[in-house]
Structure formats: structure tokens, C-alpha cells
Amino acid sequence: MLRGIFAAIVVAALAGCAINEPAPVEAVMVEPVEAEIIAPSDAPTGSVAGPDTTAEAASAGGGGGWGGVAEEQDCGFGCRVRGMGGIFTASRSTAEIGPRLWASRAFASRGTMAPAEFGGYGIIYFPGNTASASEAGRVAMFCEAFRTLPSVNELETPPESIPRSQQFVTIWPLRGADDVLELREAEAREREALRRGDAAGAEMAEDALCAVAATGYDRNDATRAAQDAGPDAAFSGRGPYLLAWAPGAEKGADSKVLELDLSQVNTSEEAKRDLRLWATLIEGDRAVWGSGFSTARLAFVFRRWIDGTASSVLKLLG
């Protein structure tokens, strides 16, 4: 009987791998130029990632820059992954981005961090008013969590020395250079306090920094970025949402986008946990970026669920 169960598990796993179809990605990675020429509507059925993709591409007759259709996949529990359905976009992006990306973050005003400089480009989008008193606590909580990601400068300077082209940056957009300056001053105060061993001073400096990040948040820039995620983008939750494009140079509706809805996050721990998950998604298995079924996507959905229910499960089990 046990043998039968294990055989069933092995068959299911093999079936999952067959649906995942990782081989064509590698095959196209070798010849990205060839992939660029072929539009999904002309593509042979066998080289398309999923069965629904062919239908969508054919019905649209080639929509965006890649001649494909931006599609959205609900992977449940607040996760939506959107991107091109065709295998070509995924492979082209992978070929351009390089083998490894490091997650980073930056508080930046418009125009100071060009998406094209980075291997990947993301943004934190708050649909509500970040300067309002009701949202202040929540924004500060996400600001603290956001700061757990290494900054662009940290990664650029030795010993890491990781160029921007190998970074997947997530931007906290700020309205003007004044806000950035004020924020840098608060950051310097925090560093100074930490050097002195003054924990209270460092906390005060961080509070001041996050207050600037909240009041100076450039909602217009973030809204434009959210619109870049696609015309059918729906941000009905309280947010924030993490949106990402890869490669950064292709930021727009037609480039691959990873989207993480943090509307259900209520505590500082949860916020930090989800920002860590964001970094893991960026740096880890890229199968989770694409559309269609993949075992990595399944793992991601399960992790979101178990993370959301872990405290109740552990309480239940004593």
C-alpha cells in the first residue's frame, strides 16, 4: 500500500514537472534574438508556456511591444502575478537580466533612479493618502520593514560592489530632492546614534526618517507606476502593493511584473516577513515570476497561506 502511495506521489510530481516545462526556457535563452523575432501568434503551439496562453495570444493578435497580451494570474491569498503569457518574454528577460539579481531598495525622487540602470525595477505603491493621520502608523511600519532591504548604495560599495545592473531595486518614491535630503540627514543622525550606542536616539531618527518618507511619498509617481502594471490593474485593497518589472529598462505594461499585495499585513513582524519574502522572490527561483503553473508558484501560494495562519496553527497546537 505504501508503495502505491509513493508511486502516486512520484507520478503527481512528474506530472507537475511536465506542466512546468522548464526546458523551453533554457532553449530560448540560448537564442534570445530568434525568440524576439517570433510573435506569439506565429509561435508553434508546443513552445508556449501554457494552454490558455495560446488562446489569449491568438485572440489578441499580438498586442504590446512583444506582440503578446499582458495577463493576470491570481495565485490566491493576496498574490497576483501578472506578465506576458508567452514563453518568449520570460526567456528574453532572463537572458537580459543575467544569472543572479540582488534585492535592494532606495528612497528616491523622480528621475534620480532610472529603471534602465537596474536589472529589475520595483516600486512600493500605497493607494491611500500616506500623509493622513489614520495611515501614519501603517506607513511607518512599512517604512521600517522596507529598510530591512539593503540600500542601493550599500550594495554598490565594497565589499559587496554589486553594480546596479545586477540589482533588483524597489523604490520608495519621494516628491522632491528636499525630501531626499531631509531623509539622508535623518539617516545620518541614525547612524551617528548607533555609533554612539544610543538606541533611543537611533529609534527617534528612524521615526523622523519614516515621517519624511510618509509625508514626502510621491503618490503621483507611484500611481503612474501602478498604471504601468497594465490597464486592467486593480488595487482595491488598502495596500501597499509591491510591483516589479524585469528587466528594469522594459518597465511598462508589457514587461514581466511581479505583484505582491500587502493589504492583509497588520503587524511590524508581518511586514518584515513579507518584505523578506519579496527579496526571496526577487533573488530566488524565477519560475515564480512567470505565468502559468509552476511548482515554485505552488510553493509561494502555500507559503503565503501558512505564513498567514501560522500563529493560529501554533496557538491551536499549544
Binding site: 500500500m1 505504501l2 502511495i5 516577513r273 523578506r276 526571496t280 522572490l281 530566488g284 527561483d285 515554485a296 510553493a299 509561494f300 502555500f302 507559503r303 501558512i306 505564513d307 495562519t309 501560522a310 500563529s311 496553527v313 501554533l314 497546537l317
Partner: protein, 79 residues
């Protein structure tokens, strides 16, 4: 007590499955091992597998053994 001990192999298999599951969902992030999600994944999988072992597999094996014993009853065999 004897019934609980019977679940031992199921619990061990469950824990192994749980650790594999938790490693799979951690995406290679070592920091995740210290999180409640990791522990919850291990425990949930261990409980499920143990329950399957205890409530499905053991009774099924017992029933199959019973059936085969009846088939092998010497009273029913021809001379």
C-alpha cells in the same frame, strides 16, 4: 498506549515530509527557518501524514490482512 506507539512510523514519516515541505517553501532563505511559518508547515504536514497513517493506512492494511487470512482458512480448502 499501544495504539499511540503504532503511530510512531507515521509521525516519523510526517516529520520528514514536513521538513521537506518547509524547505521547499523557504526558497532557500535560511532566515525563514526561524519563522513561525516554517514550524507551522512542519507541524501541519506531520499531523496530516500521521493522521493519514493512523486513520487510513493502518485500518486498510488490517482489513486487507483480515481478508487474506479468511481466504487462507484451512477449513475452506478442498481435500
Amino acid at each position: 498506549m499501544a495504539n499511540i506507539l503504532k503511530l510512531g512510523p507515521g509521525a516519523i514519516i510526517g516529520l520528514i515530509v514536513g521538513v521537506f515541505l518547509a524547505e521547499w517553501i523557504s526558497f532557500g532563505d535560511p532566515a525563514y527557518r526561524a519563522s513561525p511559518g516554517y514550524l507551522a508547515a512542519v507541524l501541519v504536514a506531520a499531523l496530516l501524514v500521521t493522521a493519514l497513517y493512523g486513520f487510513v493506512l493502518i485500518p486498510l492494511v488490517a482489513r486487507l490482512r483480515g481478508a487474506s487470512a479468511e481466504e487462507g482458512d484451512p477449513g475452506e480448502t478442498p481435500d
